[in-house]
């Protein structure tokens, strides 16, 4: 958050035209500081060149290390603690039978669901925020979580459905909400503010619907509904891992392939058009991907609060890089969720506190901090 400093550097404007023309090429090139362009460029034969932002690259590497470390620790945490070395040994296939069952069948899928859900929410949130050009344009605020909840509650309350049916209901609810928001907000392109305002309206309606469904439910269903609504990784197994993994394997490359177009979209539709981005196509594709990622993550773990909102913002502050920061946001989301799950188990014992409570508390504190600093910077 930088305060604008408008008075600086007028001197170049006073330079006369003649002087400007006189300067020779060598001087011209020296005038541009080397640090003007972020990152290093890796060039290979055949005109290949890839630009790497060193700081963002480091952040991603550190986040990955943190996520994996937290995962190993998390797998070792529980009623039957396992040392990290044994966890690693077991994961590599050299553990004893008892540990193998606990690690591979009980705790590993739960951690994988956590990583995938966190990554999906982080990426989905970064996409939504970039497309709406607004940090508040994240799926939690736009009502996608409420939509998934409505779908899940219908299954729980009206049909007493199985876990799979509840997940399916949540997925359909999320996708339908995403579609509704897009249709309602769409008029010659989705504009940031309209998207956010329509999303808030949809969220309010769905919250009312969800409240109604819970009051209609009997006590058992209502308790189940409330647990689902908090967002939890309890009892997640391989059945949740595979669909999420396949979805991510398809969507993540697709999204990253369009990331450069998204960077151009940040500067406004007109600029993106002028630069040759197919604006509507890129935006629709990325929105669909973001809705799918968010809905699938919510179907797997419930509406885990604030990860989609905070992960992209935290990642951005770490990389200090402009742009949507998609990969850092994804890694940040995965790290956040696994660390939050570990924190909830560590502080309150296994399966006592749903992870959504921890992310909600962390996210809420973070949001207040964000608003306070933005206020200081004079932006709100």
């Amino acid at each position: 958050m930088k305060a604008p400093r408008n008075q600086a550097g007028h001197h170049h404007l006073e330079r006369t035209q003649a002087e400007r023309v006189e300067r020779d090429q060598a001087e011209r090139d020296q005038a541009v500081p080397a640090r003007a362009f972020r990152g290093r460029t890796v060039r290979a034969g055949g005109g290949l060149s890839v630009r790497v932002d060193i700081r963002a690259f480091t952040v991603v590497a550190l986040l990955l290390v943190a996520a994996l470390t937290a995962s190993v620790v998390l797998i070792g945490t529980g009623d039957f603690p396992i040392p990290a070395t044994d966890v690693l040994k077991t994961l590599l296939g050299n553990g004893d039978a008892g540990q193998e069952f606990i690690v591979n069948e009980l705790r590993l899928p739960r951690v994988l669901v956590g990583l995938l859900v966190g990554a999906s929410l982080g990426l989905g949130g970064a996409l939504f925020q970039a497309i709406s050009r607004n940090p508040l344009g994240s799926p939690d605020v736009l009502g996608l979580g409420q939509g998934s909840t409505a779908g899940a509650l219908v299954m729980i309350v009206l049909f007493s459905g199985s876990a799979t049916q509840v997940a399916l209901g949540a997925l359909i609810g999320g996708l339908a909400t995403g579609f509704a928001i897009y249709v309602l907000a769409w008029k010659q392109g989705v504009h940031g503010y309209r998207l956010v305002l329509v999303g808030i309206g949809v969220a309010a309606i769905l919250t009312a619907v969800n409240g109604y469904l819970i009051t209609k439910a009997d006590l058992v269903d209502a308790a189940r509904a409330v647990v689902w609504m908090t967002g939890s990784l309890n009892g997640r197994d391989w059945a949740q891992v595979w669909p999420l993994l396949i979805l991510c394997a398809v969507l993540v490359p697709l999204v990253l392939g369009n990331a450069r177009g998204l960077r151009m979209l940040e500067m406004g539709d007109d600029v993106a058009y002028a630069l040759g981005v197919r604006v509507e196509r890129t935006r629709l594709l990325l929105l669909v991907a973001a809705v799918l990622l968010t809905a699938a993550a919510t179907a797997a773990a419930g509406p885990v609060g604030f990860v989609a909102l905070t992960a992209p913002q935290l990642a951005r502050r770490l990389t200090r890089s402009p742009g949507p920061n998609l990969v850092p946001a994804m890694c940040m989301g995965a790290t956040l969720l696994v660390v939050a799950d570990w924190a909830s188990q560590r502080a309150f014992g296994a399966d006592q506190l749903p992870v959504g409570v921890v992310t909600g508390v962390l996210g809420g504190v973070y949001l207040l901090w964000l608003l306070a600093t933005e206020r200081k910077a004079g932006r709100i």
Partner: protein
């Protein structure tokens, strides 16, 4: 006046660009041969009907942008100048008619190919949070890049040159949101230059700038036109700026071209009254000799008959 104004028709050739200040559009200068080998200008709109939803802005509007000209579009508010610019840059698809770029319908061309030929500096541009001048200008290279060709030495050279020719090279590592309005506009122009397009459209590039920076930006445009030989099309509000800098002026009213041609040929008191509904005198600019519009005093305007289109539009 009208006869002169309509001089640049379909057959109008191009001028040498460097000496455009003294060259009459369409009168001399060898005809430009484009890729198709015909003698048409690179960018033109052929009887286009432009509308937002159902609101029609212009009907059957035809405009030719003379190659190597600094064309300025003027007209009262809501006359369709920006709309015309959006159509020329393929952001608005005409309901009828077509916009041609190098003989091809612009909508049918690949987006990146258009973006390598025709640049646009829109009014609504947003500098991303925390972006440096160098990075923002670098984004202008997008149409020349690909997934595996992200930053060539050519990209870097062009970006440096663009920053130097717009005088923002020293600001390269500064954050864009720290800059003044005038500096920021130069940075956006540098980004459009980095796109390396022979044609560059600018939508009200001087709006919100104080007089010093307005002139500064227009000087820069004139330089780009004269030294780099680019074809510039700008929408401007200030008629006097338009008359001073344009080599080709297009006056629009209610979505129709009222007159077009060299400012000194077409800017008259009658034209200003017809286009803007303003009584005025047109005198020679003491600095440049171009037409200078001096609005009539308040008393003269209120006592005179209401403005009316004397000549047909």
């Amino acid at each position: 006046m009208r006869a002169d104004g309509k001089m640049s028709g379909k057959s109008s050739g191009t001028t040498s660009g460097k000496s455009s200040g003294t060259t009459r559009t369409g009168a001399d200068g060898g005809p430009h041969m484009n890729d198709q080998g015909s003698t048409v200008n690179r960018l033109s709109a052929e009887s286009v009907t432009l509308a937002y939803d159902q609101r029609v802005i212009a009907e059957q509007l035809s405009v030719e942008i003379p190659d190597n000209s600094f064309t300025v579009i003027v007209g009262p508010n809501a006359c369709g100048k920006s709309t015309l610019l959006r159509a020329l840059s393929r952001m608005l698809k005409p309901n009828q008619g077509r916009v041609l770029l190098d003989g091809q319908v612009i909508q049918s061309m690949p987006a990146k190919k258009v973006a390598r030929t025709l640049g646009l500096l829109p009014q609504s541009s947003i500098a991303p949070d925390g972006i440096t001048v160098g990075d923002l200008v670098g984004r202008g290279r997008y149409p020349h890049q690909g997934l595996l060709r992200q930053w060539s030495t050519e990209d870097e050279r062009v970006v440096r040159e663009s920053m130097t020719s717009t005088g923002v090279a020293e600001l390269a590592d500064r954050y864009v949101d720290e800059l003044s309005g005038g500096q920021r506009q130069r940075v956006w122009i540098a980004m459009a230059l980095a796109q390396q397009t022979p044609l560059l459209l600018l939508d009200e590039p001087t709006t919100y700038l104080d007089i010093q920076h307005q002139i500064d930006v227009l000087d820069l445009c004139a330089e780009l036109h004269e030294e780099q030989g680019r074809t510039l099309v700008a929408v401007l509000h200030d008629l006097n700026h338009a008359a001073r800098y344009a080599t080709h002026l297009i006056a629009l009213r209610d979505g129709s071209v009222i007159a077009e041609g060299r400012p000194s040929d077409i800017v008259t008191a009658e034209l200003v009254e017809e286009v803007f509904g303003l009584r005025c005198q047109v005198i020679d600019d003491p600095e440049t000799g171009t037409p200078l519009v001096v609005p009539a005093g308040r008393k003269a305007r209120t006592t005179a008959a209401p403005a009316a289109g004397v000549t047909k539009g």
